[in-house]
């Protein structure tokens, strides 16, 4: 994937819960590490915006949706397992 690819994420959370908070922390850290300066994260609280969750067929929180680049991907959970998450998100592992 190109070094200029823009990443756009939407993270569905239940505000105030531990797993949702972890997911946001992990996502932010990964983005800063691999795609710094070319990513956007939108956080959606399913309690505040239940209709959006329903429209996106979100059945669990936290759920991360990669909106760009295509194709759209979903990952459920705290995003704590780096390798599979990086792979799923399409982040390039820079090996020295």
């Amino acid at each position: 994937m190109s070094r200029r690819t823009q990443f756009k994420f939407r993270l569905y959370v239940a505000e105030g819960t531990a797993n949702s908070a972890l997911a946001l922390i992990n996502l932010t850290a990964l983005c800063e590490e691999f795609v710094a300066g070319r990513h956007e994260i939108e956080v959606v609280d399913v309690f505040r915006e239940p209709k959006r969750a329903l429209a996106d067929s979100i059945l669990m929180t936290p759920t991360l949706v990669r909106l760009a680049p295509p194709p759209m991907r979903r990952i459920v959970g705290t995003l704590a397992q780096r390798q599979p998450v990086m792979l799923a998100l399409g982040f390039e592992v820079i090996t020295s």
């Binding site: 797993n19 067929s57 936290p62 959970g77």
Partner: protein, 474 residues
């Protein structure tokens, strides 16, 4: 009907038990399926279910957030439930309770605040009773908030607190927040200010009295000058009287007692005697006229002194408060008290009095201001050529207020001084103490009025305006 201890029929209880078992199993299975990484799950219709761990998180977070917010606030705060029980307090409240009541467990969680008020010490009972009433009103939804300032002697020093009680929920009864704010500093500052103000008022009153006394003495002194001159003239007149020469005439007449007829008609000296007597009589008549005239002037002057003293006395008689007075008469009284000084400087005094209704006012205070303004006006005209100074006194009515203005055509006031002129200690005169206008402005404020100044600048004269309410608020 046979009922369980819970009060529910046995079949209902059974169903509840079975539902809860299902709920637990469901929750457990959901957690297993989501490997503990998920907080909520939803069905296809968007009905969200919070997993148990997440429920605990939320509850814990809420309590922690509430405690953090409460503890971050410096004021002692307690939350009361609808019954008035203390359900939560912050750190500041604990410290406050320990400090206020070191021997008691303090206003801690679980105690009823209303009961604590009812058990207050006798010396705090009346405040405590009012506080309890206020708390009850807020808890019952009758008041949107309640606050009271109270002092607390149980501490090492007398401390003051502002207590505010507000409902926990604005639109329905459901407990209350009690907050104590330490206002000791503010109260002390207020007391200090009040004391300083009182001292200033006393000082200004004394200064005002001294001012009036100075003017009275000055005026009396002026009249006494005339009295002295009159008395001197009378003395001089009588001293120069030719009454002594009558003795030599009577001696001559006695010497010629035997032939008085021929002496007066034939003797060269004797023949002059009738003429001489006539001359003396004429002199005496003249002297008598002069003496009477001087004595009359003397009496007029003494009457003037009496008038000055009476005017002053009638003002000084500790005016028992506001009285109904004619504004024009008041201004005339002020003029009379300053008359001597004004005449001496040959100032022209112009009166422009509108017909205005009488006012209720503390007369002596207005006179104190007027005398002061007249004195200032006179000083302002010091540098003008003889008989060029002019003071205009105006009385007008503007709405519900009476305006008395004193204008002069003297030295005027620099624009930068216009704002400072009423400050304590401000003066441009070498012998001034800067108290007159300051105390004047204070007195005007006390009367519910104001004292203002206008001047177009140096050498353009000045106009001071005293505004007084027609009917001061009681």
């Amino acid at each position: 009907m046979n009922t369980e201890p819970s009060g529910l029929p046995p079949d209902v209880t059974d169903e509840i038990s079975s539902l809860i078992a299902t709920l637990h199993q469901t929750g457990q299975r959901l957690e297993e399926l989501t490997a503990g990484e998920v907080d909520t799950v939803a069905d296809g219709e968007g009905r969200t279910f919070l997993l148990r761990q997440a429920q605990d998180d939320l509850r814990h977070n809420e309590a922690a957030r509430q405690a953090a917010i409460l503890n971050a606030l410096p004021s002692p705060i307690a939350l009361l439930n609808p019954q008035g029980d203390i359900v939560s307090v912050n750190e500041a409240w604990r410290r406050f309770a320990r400090k206020k009541l070191p021997q008691s467990p303090g206003h801690e969680i679980g105690l009823n605040y209303l009961t604590l008020c009812a058990d207050a010490r006798p010396d705090e009972a009346s405040d405590a009773q009012r506080i309890a009433e206020g708390v009850r009103m807020v808890l019952g939804g009758g008041e949107r908030s309640f606050s009271i300032e109270y002092s607390c002697d149980s501490l090492a020093q007398k401390d003051w607190f502002l207590m505010t009680v507000t409902p926990l929920q604005q639109d329905r009864p459901g407990g209350a927040v009690v907050m104590q704010t330490d206002i000791t500093e503010r109260k002390r500052a207020e007391a200090d200010r009040e004391l300083a103000h009182q001292k200033l008022m006393e000082a200004s009153h004394l200064a005002g009295m001294a001012e009036v006394a100075t003017i009275v003495l000055h005026n009396v002194g002026n009249v006494l000058n005339s009295v002295n001159v009159s008395a001197g003239l009378v003395t001089e007149n009588l001293r120069s009287s030719r009454v002594d020469s009558m003795l030599s005439v009577t001696a001559l007449l006695r010497e010629h007692a035997s032939d008085l007829g021929s002496y007066l008609s034939l003797d060269p000296r004797g023949r002059h005697i009738p003429e001489f007597l006539e001359q003396i009589a004429t002199d005496w008549i003249g002297q008598r006229e002069a003496v009477i005239k001087e004595l009359e002037a003397l009496r007029a002057n003494i009457d003037h002194i009496k008038a000055i003293v009476v005017t002053q006395q009638s003002q000084a008689r500790a005016s028992p408060g506001a009285e109904r007075v004619s504004v024009a008469e008041l201004v005339e009284d002020g003029l009379r008290m300053s008359e001597g000084a004004l005449l001496e400087q040959r100032l022209r005094v112009v009166r422009e009095f509108e017909l205005v209704p009488p006012i209720r006012v503390e007369k002596h205070k207005v006179l104190q201001i007027l005398v002061n303004l007249l004195r200032n006006a006179r000083h302002a005209c010091d540098q003008l050529a003889e008989a060029r100074g002019q003071i205009i006194l105006r009385v007008t009515q503007v709405g519900g207020r009476i305006r008395i203005s004193v204008s002069d055509n003297g030295v005027g006031i620099r624009p930068e001084n216009l704002t400072r002129i009423f400050s304590h200690g401000f003066t441009t005169r070498r012998d001034g103490h800067g108290f007159g206008l300051h105390s004047g402005a204070l007195a005007a404020a006390e009367l519910g009025g104001s004292l203002t100044v206008h001047s177009d600048g140096p050498d353009k004269g000045a106009m001071f305006t005293l505004e007084l309410p027609l009917d001061p608020a009681p």
